[in-house]
């Protein structure tokens, strides 16, 4: 009960927490999310193909697999919501084709009476919604399993599609969309494409500004990750009651040193100055972070810690990580090409990639039960590699990889030794040596481009090391959570600002006569930057002024925002130096740039995933979805309109099918009668991979989106890697299985870890737990 007195109730009570509740840091919270398995799987698959295929990791490759993923994910998100609501819609695949067929058939001149697209397109939407309503109502009224009802609709749709196609056109291919009246208008919406050959700011001379060059995005990313880490600290550790001025001095000195190093890196060129500058930056950042942390956070209280890993587990992990790190270092030493050609055939690369992915995953999993905070940070950074590599070259990313792995190894080994003498500075020094080594390996190159990257790498590794080492030092893990801050208003304000500037920028672009998609994306990017800058500046300012308790959460938000923004900008826009590099000026003075195309489908997919997640997690409707899927009778008896909720879900699925159908139709302008048939199972599979429970009541819309991305990466990546595509489904199936298993395992572990009593309890998490919360019942009685 509440009045249990422990040795440390004061701190917990002051913070407004519950002393029985082990504090759940943001990483622990993330690990209990249903989509974590899919996320880790996605990162693993990305790493695998990134290593074995050069074009896969480029923007072009990304556009390629995102396109495949988007067609799938657009449907998978609403299908996942329906699944969480406890129902299936087997007609969803056939419906995508049906809407396309209806639009083309109605629009075109059949027997001299074409309706035109302005009527046909809305009509096909009405048809889709009607079928969705029909499905939902029938399932509700008859209480038949939706499986049966929609199977009927599925066959009816297939039959009708074929029958009507033959009836009207005498063919199974219905074509001629581009001849229909109103094609231009609708093609501007559903056929829009984004060519990534433009700068975020169109005034080309702006690209000479330092702000819009590569460094801006690199710095944004670095800053974001740093903010994320510090925020994680703030959320995970207890504050010091009184500041520690000595540590603040160290921090300030560190900042100065880092700045000096940074300036020297910018001002001079040459191996020697890179060396010195890099070391200065490293030492500075280390000192700054360590000092800052020491001045703010409590010393560790190890009394409340749960079960620890055995020393030999650390030892094995450390040795394994070091071995992998050495292989990476050798690889970097042996080759300066972008590929790991010396490793021999595909098998060697494959094994190598798997090893790296496994170590990253191990770091995360090891962190789950053991909750030693250094490891989650390392794991997260290893897992964050894809984002980083967007901003730097393959070689530079390898340096990060090497640094991270080496660091992991050292930390694990040091953990073994720590049982004798815990001294954070020794571990810091070792880490520093590793960075110097990594830096030395790459410092041979004096090219300007590489220097920028090296700086990125250096700063990253330094931050990583400092964070993890100091984290260990300050591992007061089970401290109480600070009370949640009231940041809602401020976030809403910035959101509104962002939306407003999005509209303004988009309208300006539209008025310039640019395409709809161009206007939308440019507007979104600029609006996002405005909102982000406002939020970041405001938050940091407020934190400095008031020392607000919510600083951790704010920093995490700022960090996530920065990382996402830099990756999005990198994907969608060409940076200054890239323009100079990849574009050629023709004889006529016109600038020609290679084009990467993003269809409007990708944008729709991203919007769907975001809106779907918001709907599920934050709105009343989302609560109702989970309730009708989890226990319909209970939901109904407390006043949830179950029938309406389910019917709405069915209509959302068929509405999404309409959008997908239109996207397909306007891309191809001609549609086969059987298009989309059979896809419904893919949607369901992808949703399950994303962590959605087949039986309903639990899941994630975002997870379904990630699942779709995994599918897209695998199906395209096999082509990129020039593997025999006959094996595609074998690989797909195996990886899907792995994703689901990891999902179950990780969630089972994470659900266990946070309970204070969990450590003492016999470990029942070993049983794969589909419904973790159910398995606990009774074991936590009051």
């Amino acid at each position: 009960m509440a009045d249990t007195t422990t040795d440390k109730p004061a701190a917990a009570a002051e913070a407004g927490g519950d002393e029985r509740l082990a504090h759940r840091g943001p990483i622990q919270t993330l690990l209990t999310r249903p989509e974590i398995g899919a996320l880790m799987g996605a990162v693993g698959v990305w790493l695998l193909f990134w290593l074995v295929s050069a074009p896969f990791g480029t923007v072009g490759g990304t556009a390629n697999f995102l396109d495949v993923a988007a067609y799938l994910g657009l449907m998978a998100v609403p299908v996942a919501l329906l699944m969480i609501g406890g129902e299936f819609d087997l007609s969803s695949g056939a419906m995508t084709g049906a809407t396309a067929l209806i639009a083309i058939l109605l629009a075109n001149d059949i027997n001299g009476a074409g309706l035109g697209l302005h009527i046909a397109v809305p009509l096909s939407l009405a048809f889709a919604l009607a079928i969705g309503w029909f499905n939902g109502t029938l399932v509700e009224k008859t209480s038949l399993p939706s499986f049966i009802v929609t199977l009927g609709t599925f066959f009816m749709l297939i039959g009708a599609k074929l029958g009507f196609s033959k009836l009207f056109t005498n063919k199974v291919l219905v074509e001629g969309l581009d001849e229909a009246e109103g094609y231009e208008f609708w093609n501007g919406i559903f056929g829009a494409e984004w060519l990534r050959n433009s700068h975020l700011w169109d005034v080309r001379s702006w690209s000479n500004l330092w702000l819009v060059r590569d460094e801006m995005w690199a710095l944004l990313l670095i800053g974001g990750i740093a903010a994320l880490m510090v925020g994680t600290f703030e959320l995970t550790y207890a504050r010091r009651p009184a500041p520690n001025p000595a540590a603040m001095v160290v921090a300030a000195a560190g900042v100065v040193v880092a700045l000096v190093g940074f300036i020297s890196l910018l001002a001079q060129d040459g191996s020697a100055s890179n060396w010195i500058g890099g070391i200065l930056v490293t030492v500075g950042v280390l000192a700054a972070v360590a000092g800052w942390c020491r001045s703010r956070y409590e010393a560790p209280d190890r009394s409340g810690r749960g079960a620890q890993a055995q020393w030999w587990q650390y030892l094995i992990g450390g040795v394994a990580a070091l071995v992998v790190a050495m292989v990476v270092a050798l690889a970097m030493d042996a080759t300066d090409s972008s590929q790991l050609g010396y490793l021999g055939g595909g098998i060697g690369k494959f094994v190598f990639a798997l090893g790296i992915a496994a170590v990253g995953a191990l770091a995360v999993v090891a962190a789950l039960g053991r909750v030693t905070p250094g490891y989650p940070v390392i794991g997260a950074v290893l897992v964050a590699l894809p984002a980083i590599s967007f901003l730097v070259t393959v070689q530079a990313a390898r340096v990060i990889l090497f640094g991270g792995l080496a660091l992991l190894g050292i930390m694990l080994l040091w953990s073994t030794a720590r049982r004798v003498q815990p001294a954070v500075w020794v571990s810091l020094a070792i880490s520093l040596a590793i960075v110097v080594l990594a830096f030395f390996i790459q410092s041979e190159s004096a090219s300007r481009k590489l220097r920028v990257e090296l700086f990125t790498v250096l700063l990253l590794v330094a931050l990583l090391m400092a964070a993890s080492a100091v984290a260990r030092y300050l591992s007061a893990i089970r401290t109480a959570a600070p009370p949640p801050p009231q940041f809602g208003r401020w976030m809403q304000l910035c959101g509104a600002l962002g939306v407003a500037s999005f509209v303004v920028f988009a309208v300006i672009e539209l008025a310039d006569g640019d395409g709809l998609l161009y206007a939308l994306l440019t507007g979104a990017a600029k609006g996002g930057i405005v909102a982000f800058v406002a939020y970041a500046v405001g938050t940091v300012g407020r934190t400095l002024m008031t020392g607000d308790e919510g600083v951790g959460r704010a920093l995490v938000s700022v960090g996530i925002g920065a990382v996402l923004l830099s990756v999005a900008a990198r994907l969608l826009f060409v940076t200054g130096s890239e323009l100079e590099k990849i574009c050629t000026v023709g004889t006529d003075g016109e600038m020609r740039c290679p084009q990467t195309q993003f269809g409007v489908v990708v944008l729709s997919f991203l919007i769907f995933a975001a809106v779907g997640s918001w709907l599920l997690m934050r709105t009343q409707f989302g609560s109702w979805i989970m309730a009708v899927g989890g226990n319909k009778d209970a939901a109904r008896s407390v006043g949830v309109p179950a029938a309406r909720t389910k019917t709405t879900l069915f209509m959302m699925v068929s509405g999404a099918a309409w959008i997908t159908g239109m996207l397909i139709a306007f891309r191809l302008t001609a549609v086969q009668a059987n298009v989309g048939d059979g896809n419904e199972f893919r949607y369901i599979i992808v949703a399950v991979v994303g962590g959605n429970l087949l039986t309903g009541g639990y899941g994630s819309a975002l997870g379904a989106g990630i699942g779709a991305v995994i599918w897209g990466m695998i199906s395209q990546g096999i082509g990129f890697a020039q593997w025999n595509s006959d094996w595609r489904f074998l690989v797909l199936g195996a990886l899907l299985l792995v994703a689901v298993l990891v999902n179950n395992y990780v969630r089972g572990r994470a659900e266990k870890a946070p309970t204070a009593s969990g450590a003492a309890k016999p470990d029942r998490a070993e049983i794969a737990i589909v419904v973790p919360s159910e398995s606990d019942s009774g074991s936590k009685g009051d």
Partner: protein, 260 residues
């Protein structure tokens, strides 16, 4: 003084089957009315009539003196009659706070950005549970991880928070162990002391007698009677439950045979 809720000869027929007949009792704030009966006695029909799931076919249901008939659970709910069912109407996979506010989520923001005020919901859920004497560890934990007694408390706290004036508890102790039953009985007393009228459905007279102010006993769809606490002893109650008059008669006969 009119009683808050008065039942006069409430009856329910399913075709030619008499599910419930002639139930008469009163329910008042600050009182616990116990409805006892064995399996098939008509207890659940009785609940469903009060909760608005079914409608009575004969008799009068008077709410503050006015004759009413609830057409739906929502109507009963808005009249202040909340039912905590045996299965508790909880979604085990959902968190405590989501269950607490299910169907009546507090919202914030402007449409189309209306969303649940999660911080507020969590805070209220924790506070209301604390009022019931249950200190929930984390309102984010799923209801499936709670013990039976805790779940019962969530349901009761939810009902009382949403303005219930009459709380119907359907067999709240039947699935619980001895110790947890005691906890739930304490909750009933606490709800009563907060001024709620409680209708406590049970088949266990040992649970009913200590907390009840008024007892209705049902047997095969018929009401055996309606007693205030001072008109009945616990052993009489047990006897009535265990076969009622028949058992008494048997005892008398045995006693006579013994004395002669």
């Amino acid at each position: 003084m009119t009683d808050f809720l008065e039942l006069k000869g409430i009856s329910k027929f399913y075709g030619n089957i008499i599910a419930l007949t002639g139930v008469t009792t009163t329910v008042n704030p600050g009182e616990v009315t116990c409805v006892l009966g064995d399996n098939g006695a008509g207890k659940s029909t009785f609940i469903k009539i009060l909760a608005g799931v079914h409608q009575h076919d004969a008799g009068d249901l008077l709410l503050e003196g006015a004759n009413v008939k609830f057409a739906s659970p929502r109507e009963a709910l808005s009249a202040g009659i909340a039912t905590v069912y045996q299965d508790l109407a909880m979604v085990p996979l959902m968190s405590v706070w989501r269950n607490f506010f299910l169907g009546q989520e507090p919202k914030t923001g402007v449409w189309p950005f209306r969303q649940i005020d999660i911080d507020k919901a969590k805070m209220i859920a924790k506070e209301e549970m604390a009022k019931m004497g249950i200190d929930i560890r984390d309102t984010e934990q799923s209801v499936g991880t709670l013990s039976g007694g805790e779940r019962q408390s969530v349901a009761i706290a939810r009902a009382s928070y949403f303005g219930a004036r009459v709380l119907i508890l359907d067999e709240p102790t039947s699935a619980l162990g001895v110790k947890q039953s005691g906890v739930v009985l304490r909750r009933i007393v606490e709800a009563r002391d907060q001024g709620l009228a409680v209708i406590f459905i049970t088949h266990n007279p040992n649970h009913a007698y200590p907390v009840g102010d008024r007892f209705v006993i049902l047997q095969r769809g018929q009401s055996l009677g309606n007693w205030a606490k001072d008109e009945l002893t616990q052993s009489e109650l047990t006897q009535l439950m265990a076969g009622g008059a028949e058992l008494e008669e048997l005892q008398h006969e045995l006693a006579e045979a013994g004395s002669s």
